[in-house]
């Protein structure tokens, strides 16, 4: 390790607008294609004569592998440049998607829809795009760039859900998967403007030059990084639980399936607004306080929803508020990783934080069903979600929103 200050910031080889637009489109495709997978559940399951478990397990694997692979994908992006990782990731993602057509055994489905797609998503998702933006975009624009990348990812579902459905309706599910695989390869054309976002070049002079292993070792020993990681677990838990279990909960409470479905759409629409706005908030206000307030608000809103009579009005208000708070944690969390640990290994370190999120997601889905089966009601897991929101607020409160001493160039000793 050397203690020398980092090299000067890289300049994008392309127009800044092209950098942002192409990065956002890659994030949109990466998030969008995976959001269509639910559409293939029925046709693939029926075509192969499987039970629902095979496809469901492949998708659960995909999500866990995405989380587990994210730190490694990030480390490669930090080392070799985001554009190289995206090129390779797009190929893996497309192959995984296309191979689902020929997957006639559970093992092949786990390999294609689970392992390969999970790896591909990790290598092309908004984490990698945000890391590329973090290195190319000047610090005063960084939070905004994180926000627009997250919002673009969220928009992916609006574009690809109908597209996937249309592909299936018009050409059949097999051709639809090939077309989606082709859409993924479109990333190759979009990646060039991110080329100057090359790893090995830090953005500012306060960062130390160090190896990946040193960065990892220092990060996991820094209390603020650990607190941030623990807090992000809660985001995954709450979001996944609500996504899966909220519509059935509403129907159980006498809300019509129509409104239950609209509630999900409302969350999706407000999520785009919330993601973008949180990028702006992160640029102007303390990210740590914003996250503390955000998790606290989630708990308050969840409590109020459960204490009040459940009516169409409260369903709409709850969905809109939760939508605003949905992925708005992402730009703020990425921003804190950048502030605490710098930009040099931000992709890998955010990957560590994100893995915690995915574990939380898995538990949110699984525990929601498990506790419902055990108690015959969602009350227990709902209150668990409220308690976890408070836990996350407490975790973010003591975070120090400044460069960790172990990641900063020491100030010259005073005479």
């Amino acid at each position: 390790m050397s203690s020398q200050a980092a090299a000067p910031a890289p300049q994008p080889a392309f127009n800044p607008t092209a950098v942002i637009v192409c990065g956002c489109l890659i994030a949109l495709i990466a998030f969008g294609v995976r959001s269509t997978m639910g559409l293939f559940n029925q046709p693939i399951t029926e075509a192969n004569g499987w039970g629902r478990e095979t496809f469901g397990l492949a998708m659960a694997l995909q999500n866990l592998i995405w989380g587990a692979a994210q730190p490694f994908a990030g480390a490669f992006a930090d080392k070799f440049g985001a554009y190289r990782v995206i090129i390779a990731g797009a190929a893996i993602y497309a192959v995984g998607t296309a191979l689902m057509v020929t997957a006639d055994t559970g093992a092949m489905m786990y390999l294609s829809g689970g392992l390969l797609m999970g790896l591909g998503i990790a290598m092309t998702s908004f984490s990698i795009i945000m890391a590329a933006f973090g290195r190319l975009v000047p610090p005063e624009k960084r939070s905004w760039a994180f926000g627009i990348a997250t919002a673009a990812s969220s928009m992916g579902q609006f574009v690809f859900a109908p597209l996937g459905q249309a592909f299936i309706a018009s050409f059949g599910w097999q051709t639809a998967l090939y077309l989606l695989a082709g859409s993924i390869l479109f990333m190759w054309l979009l990646v060039m403007p991110l080329r100057a976002a090359k790893g090995g070049v830090a953005r500012d002079e306060t960062e130390l030059d160090m190896t990946i292993a040193e960065a990892l070792s220092r990060a996991i020993r820094h209390p603020s990084f650990v607190l941030l990681t623990l807090g992000f677990f809660v985001c995954g838990f709450q979001v996944a639980f609500i996504t899966v279990h909220f519509p059935p909960l509403l129907i159980e409470q006498g809300i019509t399936p129509q409104l239950a479905a609209w509630s999900i759409a409302i969350v999706g629409i407000f999520n785009v607004v919330g993601s973008y706005t949180s990028g702006i908030v992160g640029a102007k206000y303390s990210r740590r306080w914003s996250l503390t307030l955000l998790y606290l608000t989630r708990s308050v809103v969840m409590t109020a929803f459960f204490m009040l009579p459940i009516t169409p009005l409260t369903v709409v208000l709850f969905s809109a508020t939760m939508g605003l708070l949905w992925l708005s944690t992402v730009p703020l969390t990425m921003g804190l990783v950048t502030v605490i640990c710098g930009t040099r290994y931000m992709a890998m370190l955010y990957g560590i934080v994100f893995f915690s999120h995915q574990v939380g997601s898995f538990l949110g889905v699984w525990l929601g069903g498990r506790l419902y089966d055990q108690y015959g009601t969602y009350d227990v897991v709902w209150w668990l979600g409220v308690a976890l929101g408070l836990f996350a607020a407490i975790m973010h409160w003591p975070i120090k929103e400044s460069r960790a001493p172990s990641f900063a160039v020491p100030e010259p000793a005073k005479a």
């Binding site: 999500n63 992916g156 579902q157 609006f158 249309a166 899966v244 519509p247 969350v267 992925l327 997601s361």
Partner: protein, 125 residues
């Protein structure tokens, strides 16, 4: 170097929404059943039409209402007599479709959720 701001975000998202809307419209038009078509279809009536009224119109068109969908005025219907789709339109349906690309999808960071949502709310004839 001048970096873009909110105007770019607005323009980008508006363009994406417009493109998605156009693609969806084109797909829906392509999936529109011809007047002579029979079988199981999606009948789309104006959203303000009362369910009882929709029910009656489907019967009048010579079909069987199978189930309403989560979109107001949109029903899964079945009719075996030739010209069923045309008769639905004559009864005031905006259109009859073989399939609909419109459905809610929420992709958090855990995509398995979508499978369950899709199963609950898919609009399929």
């Amino acid at each position: 170097m001048q970096w873009p701001g909110h105007k770019l975000a607005l323009g980008l998202f508006a363009t994406i929404l417009l493109a998605a809307g156009l693609a969806m419209t084109a797909t829906m038009l392509a999936g529109r059943a011809s007047d002579g078509e029979t079988g199981t279809l999606l009948a789309v009536f104006p959203p303000s039409t009362q369910p009882n009224s929709v029910f009656g119109k489907i019967i009048m068109a010579g079909g069987k209402p199978i189930r309403p969908t989560w979109v107001n005025g949109t029903w899964v219907v079945h009719g075996d007599e030739p010209g069923f789709a045309g008769r639905l339109k004559a009864q005031g349906a905006i259109g009859a479709y073989r399939n609909s690309p419109v459905l809610p999808q929420l992709a958090g960071c855990f995509a398995y959720a979508d499978a369950k949502t899709v199963e609950m709310f898919a609009i399929r004839p």
